[in-house]
């Protein structure tokens, strides 16, 4: 009988209307490496963030070694024997390597308020040497080391105190092969010492190879836990997907030809650290989808097309050859963009619906160079009503609206501007089903009017249901292309994106 070290019991977490983790009950055994997989938004990272005290738990609990775990931050989790190596940068610039390793745990070196820096450096160096990282100098500023070395330092930081449970959240993608090998080595060591590793990765081959068992999450629900030796990558993909197209919301037409007229072409576009050498064309009346894992660079593509990227190279041109290199030229030439970060990048939150809708159309609303509130409100009212924004009147502040209605304001703005090319990044993120359906209907309507739409989305079903053509991205580059088809499945799609 295997001994359970950690158990999640009926754990729940919601963000607004999104129920990110639903009633998950999941035991983890002592002395195993457990893979945790699932596509975007399946709840893996949220579940682990609750374990580490980074997010609060809505309901349910974690039981570690028979006792309920009640922690508020990472250091408290560490003291209880749970640690994490995070996906992003987990070390702090401006501190030395040793200070980073012991951050939050300096007290053991402090006597009468004075920190024994020498002892701390010595101990940090001894740890680095023990891990075989003796080329890293504990007294140096961490800024002198590259991302990969900083990840190795994080390995030391997260494991030197022999945690009972170590969570590794999608760390391997950032590492080279030798860095990965170091990580695997320490995962194995921790397991062999009788402790537990929870390993989150999108690389299914890696998950099968290095874990003992694998748990699969989908839409915040635990689907199954399987033995790694019994499964293939295909089996896992089947477990990860499993939804069917719901044609109550999506388009139902298939096989309609899209015009050959190219309205926008993207040639060899790169943005440092985000996208590599992207080329594609957008046709008149086409809904073009772009999908992939959240960090694959797809969100930057929207910015690049809208002239909003920094340090972009390559060309974005309209049919007549006009280059789009700045936001002003993009808007002038009828390109619209709705950002994923609605509240910070799309809307002026502390302003009225009217002002938000009229913002890019001010020039055309002037009469003898004067802007009259009457004209602005008429204009805003017309488009807000057209797509039924739920509001008191157009003078209401955008900050009062729900996520769905905010998104409608963004769309009303660009419909009012009569944009021909519309880039929508995550248009239905955090939006309830009713408004979702409205937005899909609106997209179909725009398509009928001959407008071209680029939809960037983390929701695969949305792309399959709405797009004429879908581009798949992986690690900043194109990795596949699908044409609209009733036989296209989520599984085909996932095969290209992970």
């Amino acid at each position: 009988m295997e001994e359970v070290i950690l158990r999640a019991e009926n754990v729940n977490k919601s963000f607004g209307i999104t129920h990110a983790v639903k009633d998950v009950t999941l035991p983890f055994n002592k002395g195993e490496i457990r893979g945790l997989i699932g596509e975007n938004g399946s709840g893996k990272s949220t579940l682990m963030s609750m374990l580490l005290g980074i997010y609060s738990i809505d309901s349910g609990k974690f039981i570690l070694d028979g006792k309920e775990l009640n922690v508020n931050n990472q250091v408290e989790a560490n003291r209880n024997g749970v640690s994490i190596i995070v996906q992003e940068m987990g070390t702090l610039s401006g501190l030395t390597v040793a200070e980073n390793i012991f951050l939050g745990n300096e007290d053991r070196f402090v006597k009468f308020g004075i920190k024994n820096t020498t002892a701390m450096n010595r101990e940090a160096q001894a740890l680095l040497d023990k891990y075989g990282f003796n080329r890293i100098d504990a007294t140096m500023m961490i800024d002198n080391y590259d991302f990969e070395d900083r990840k190795l330092i994080e390995i030391v930081k997260a494991t030197y105190f022999d945690p009972k449970v170590l969570v590794i959240d999608e760390t391997t993608t950032a590492l080279s092969q030798s860095g990965r090998d170091e990580l695997y080595k320490h995962m194995n060591r921790i397991r062999d010492e009788g402790n537990t590793v929870i390993f989150i990765s999108h690389d299914l081959a890696e998950v099968i190879k290095y874990t003992n068992s694998i748990s699969v999450l989908r839409d915040g629900v635990l689907i199954d836990t399987v033995q790694s030796s019994d499964v293939t990558e295909d089996d896992l993909k089947k477990l990860m997907v499993g939804r069917v197209l719901d044609d109550r919301y999506y388009r139902t037409d298939y096989g309609e030809a899209v015009s050959d007229d190219v309205v926008l072409s993207v040639k060899n576009v790169s943005v440092p650290g985000e996208i590599k050498n992207m080329s594609f064309e957008l046709h008149k009346g086409e809904i073009l989808g772009i999908g992939g894992l959240s960090e694959c660079g797809m969100h930057e593509v929207g910015k690049a097309v809208f002239g909003a990227s920094y340090d972009r190279t390559g060309e974005v041109t309209l049919a007549d050859g006009t280059p789009i290199n700045s936001i002003t030229t993009a808007i002038k030439h009828s390109i619209a963009y709705a950002s994923k970060d609605r509240d910070n990048e799309s809307l002026v939150i502390n302003d009225s619906i009217s002002d938000n809708i009229c913002l890019p159309s001010m020039d055309s609303l002037r009469v003898n160079n004067i802007l009259l509130n009457k004209h602005l409100n008429e204009f805003a009212n017309k488009y807000a009503k057209l797509i039924s924004v739920k509001m008191v009147d157009v003078n209401q502040f955008v900050s009062d609206l729900s996520g769905g209605n905010k998104q409608k304001v963004v769309l009303a703005r660009w419909i009012g501007k009569n944009s021909d090319i519309v880039v929508l990044d995550s248009p239905t993120r955090g939006i309830d089903v009713k408004v979702k359906a409205d937005i899909y209907a609106l997209m179909s309507e725009m398509k009928k009017q001959g407008k071209s739409i680029i939809v960037i989305s983390e929701e695969i079903m949305e792309l399959l249901g709405m797009c004429d053509r879908i581009l798949v991205m992986k690690d900043g580059a194109l990795s596949g292309e699908f044409m609209r088809s009733p036989t296209l499945t989520e599984e085909d799609f996932i095969a290209k994106m992970v």
Binding site: G90, G94, L95, V110
Partner: protein
Amino acid sequence: MSLKESTQKPKTNKFVNNYLGIILLLLLVAVIWAIFKILAPGNFGSPDKMLSYLQSSLIYAVGGCGLYFICVMGLFDFSIGANVVLSSILACVFAQKFGYAGLILVPIICGTLIGLLNGIVYIKLHIPSMIVTVGLALIYESLSVFATQGQEQILQSANCAFGTYPANLILALCAFFLTALIIKYTKIGTYTYAIGSNEYVAKNMGVSVNKYKVVAFVLCGFFVGVMSILTISYGTSMTAASSLSSMGRNFTPLMGTFFGLAFRKYGKPITAIVIGEFIISMIFNGFVAIGAPSTVQNVVTGAALLLIVMVTTKPVKGIVVK
């Protein structure tokens, strides 16, 4: 061979780390000295004069040390000018009654309390530190007016030891060593840097962010208190300030702080603050030596401040600066 290379590489980096910054700053000192010496050979740069430039720069460097704790976190304190005025005035008043005990203790207590108040108000009101400290500066200035009824306060010559060598140098050195000690050998130093680097991550590591922000304001106030002792001893008189006339006193310490931030990666921020203030003092006196009107000095101060901040802060692309 490759192992040897990899173990030796950090050593050369370490030398660069430790001394390159200081060497660069000293070179800058030499270059600026040479320029003004050529422009005004008779009026600038004799050993005596260099000592007097150093004397004024020590005062600002002490304030710069205090401000360093604030600026590392990305915050500002624009009340240090008002703090200096109020603390110096109280120092004068109490020195008359209690001699050196009053001169030393009162401004340090006053400065520290002002720092504490700044910190608490900043934390409680959740508004930018710059606004908080400017608002409070007006209040501190008014207190200085109430305390003196507009009369100029003069420090008796019997209590002026900290205005000249060696007492001023000793006091300033104590302040520098204390700053370096706090930064390198206490949790406060580590947490200050951690909060400045990424507040969210620091919070996740169990750092009590608000507490250490208040601590930084308190330390800033403490060092401004020490600066007040040096200021009143050097100048021997102080008049109450009003309508933000104390604002001008903020910028010279701030410039030193930015030298510290810029050279922080070389590991010796406090040395950089001190040499930085000396460079600024040389430039001011250099302009006086070549006979430039004092308005030109203000232009130089403003331009130098903008230049130093531009060089030392590398904003993230696309970040909104307000």
